[in-house]
């Protein structure tokens, strides 16, 4: 759709600079935005990589959202280990299609999430960079030094935020930012203090942006690369995490690789169990939540200003959709959808056919509808 809009605005594909998440395998573990089974879904993700390699050189077509698993029960080692296992599934599938490792590697970026323990988080990023560089070089034979760079975006920590004494969440997110900066992440997106209540208010969004700006431009935390390097504690943590991450990756390989482990529900089960154990620790007070399960005041009522939404949006959107449906060329839509379906059946790259359907104003529902007829629908494995 971005490409269609760019085309409409007369912007060349070589000028499009876009990061899409497009990380379908993670969706089966957490977040759940899936339709098709993992194998055909993996194909569509790699179709996008392949299309970008040919048409949109500045794109970052996959951002592996390992952090979503972290926020849903994964340990630091599992976050990186599963994230890499998923990334390698995309990479290997692209290589199997004859693409070049140095072209694909720089297309893959990551989104990670932090807990507040910034020593461990900083060490996590250091360990992840070592493993990525090593495996890209040794296992995949990358030659371009750029392929060895772990391009990553960090932040998150939403599951660490409390409803009680909500302003304390600003301090919590500052700790998240510290772990990201000291560990050497390239971009940061923090959560807002009111997220346990509502969609963040404009004020809360401004505070989270200012937090990073203050850390970078007043506290000067970004002045030097790898400031933790050489500390006995951080080096020890980094080495331990490196080992633990490799064990997680080996376990996935033993289970038949990322796709098989996800089809069988293995990663989902470990992740859900991790979340359950963590919740029990919060309830028992073993995991401290200041102002919530420790030092909190029992009878205090907390609230924040809610981000009100406009209830007329739904109606306006429906009207817009109906308008588009009335005005578009129906024969053209039908033809595009048929061609998309045929492309899906034949195994060719579906992106150009999707683009044509988008330009004919086919809806997402219509496009996924024809793909569903070819690919089928995912059935969740039992997780507990």
């Amino acid at each position: 759709m971005y490409v269609a809009v760019a085309e409409k605005q007369g912007v060349g594909k070589d000028r499009i600079n876009i990061v899409t998440q497009n990380d379908i395998l993670k969706e089966y573990v957490v977040r759940g935005a899936w339709i098709f089974p993992p194998k055909p879904a993996l194909r569509t993700t790699v179709d996008v990589i392949e299309y970008c390699a040919k048409e949109i050189p500045k794109a970052s077509p996959v951002s592996v959202a390992a952090g979503h698993m972290r926020s849903s029960g994964a340990t630091a080692a599992q976050e990186i280990g599963w994230g890499f296992a998923i990334a390698f599934a995309y990479l290997q599938t692209a290589l199997d299609r004859g693409m070049d490792v140095d072209q694909v590697a720089s297309f893959i970026t990551f989104t990670f999430h932090n807990k507040l323990n910034f020593f461990e988080e900083a060490a996590k990023y250091r360990a992840a960079r070592r493993i990525w560089a090593k495996l890209l070089k040794e296992r995949f034979g990358a030659k371009n030094p750029r392929s060895l760079l772990l391009r990553s975006f960090g932040g998150g920590g939403m599951e660490e935020l409390t409803m009680q004494e909500p302003l304390n969440n600003i301090i919590r997110e500052t700790c998240v930012a510290l772990g990201c900066i000291l560990g050497g992440i390239q971009g940061i997106g923090l959560c807002c203090y009111d997220e346990a209540y509502t969609i963040p208010s404009p004020e809360a969004q401004l505070i989270q942006m200012r937090t990073v700006q203050i850390l970078m431009e007043e506290a000067n935390l970004g002045d030097v690369a790898d400031p933790m390097g050489g500390s006995y504690y951080i080096e020890q943590l980094t080495a331990e995490l490196e080992k633990a991450i490799m064990v997680v990756m080996e376990d996935v390989e033993k289970a038949g690789g990322a796709v098989k482990a996800i089809e069988d529900g293995l990663i989902q089960r470990i992740c859900a169990k991790g979340a359950y154990e963590r919740q029990k620790q919060i309830d028992s007070g073993e995991k401290v939540w200041v102002g919530a399960n420790k030092y909190g005041s029992e009878d205090q009522e907390w609230d924040v200003k809610l981000h009100e939404y406009d209830p007329t949006i739904q109606e306006r959107q429906i009207q817009k959709l109906n308008q588009v449906r009335k005005q578009r060329d129906h024969a053209k839509v039908k033809q595009c959808l048929q061609e998309l379906k045929r492309a899906a059946e034949s195994g060719v790259n579906i992106v150009p056919f999707t683009l044509e359907a988008v330009k004919a104003y086919a809806t997402i529902g219509e496009m996924t509808g024809v793909l569903r007829e070819v690919f089928g629908e995912f059935k969740e494995p039992a997780v507990f």
């Binding site: 977040r31 759940g32 029960g73 359950y276 309830d283 507990f384």
Partner: protein
């Protein structure tokens, strides 16, 4: 005394909301307390949830919603249960639910709401209390 079957709970994730960590945690906690838990999985419709509740003769429905659509979904489910003659099955809700919406949900007929930050012990207590109430009637 006649043998009583364990409390049977349906945990539902209605709509496209994919945030299922809470639903899974609550399911595991209820199961560990000896209840029978049926989890719908993601992307279920209100119609499906009401249908399963009826077929499985559950004692309570737990709905987990973090998408902000808790009000219309609750209203729809309560209506659907009434239509199917199952209005005696109580509904408990959890998720990101603002305080001001709790009285509205109760007015629709939701038995209890466990918003974000409710402890597992409290959730288990609430669900089991409400499920037991239904069994006695």
């Amino acid at each position: 005394m006649s043998q009583r079957r364990p409390l049977r709970v349906l945990i539902g994730k209605p709509g496209l909301d994919g945030h299922d960590v809470g639903a899974k945690i609550v399911s595991m906690a209820l199961r560990d307390k000896g209840m029978e838990v049926i989890y719908t999985g993601l992307h279920s419709t209100v119609e499906q949830i009401a249908q399963i509740a009826l077929q499985e003769d559950v004692d309570v429905i737990g709905l987990s919603i973090l998408s902000g659509a808790h009000l219309p979904i609750a209203q729809k489910l309560i209506r659907k249960l009434q239509e199917k003659g199952a209005s005696d099955v109580p509904v408990v809700m959890g998720g990101v639910i603002p305080k001001k919406d709790i009285p509205v949900l109760k007015q629709y007929g939701v038995a209890e709401v466990c918003p974000f930050s409710t402890s597992l012990t409290q959730v288990v207590e609430t669900v089991s209390k409400i499920a037991s109430t239904r069994k006695r009637t």
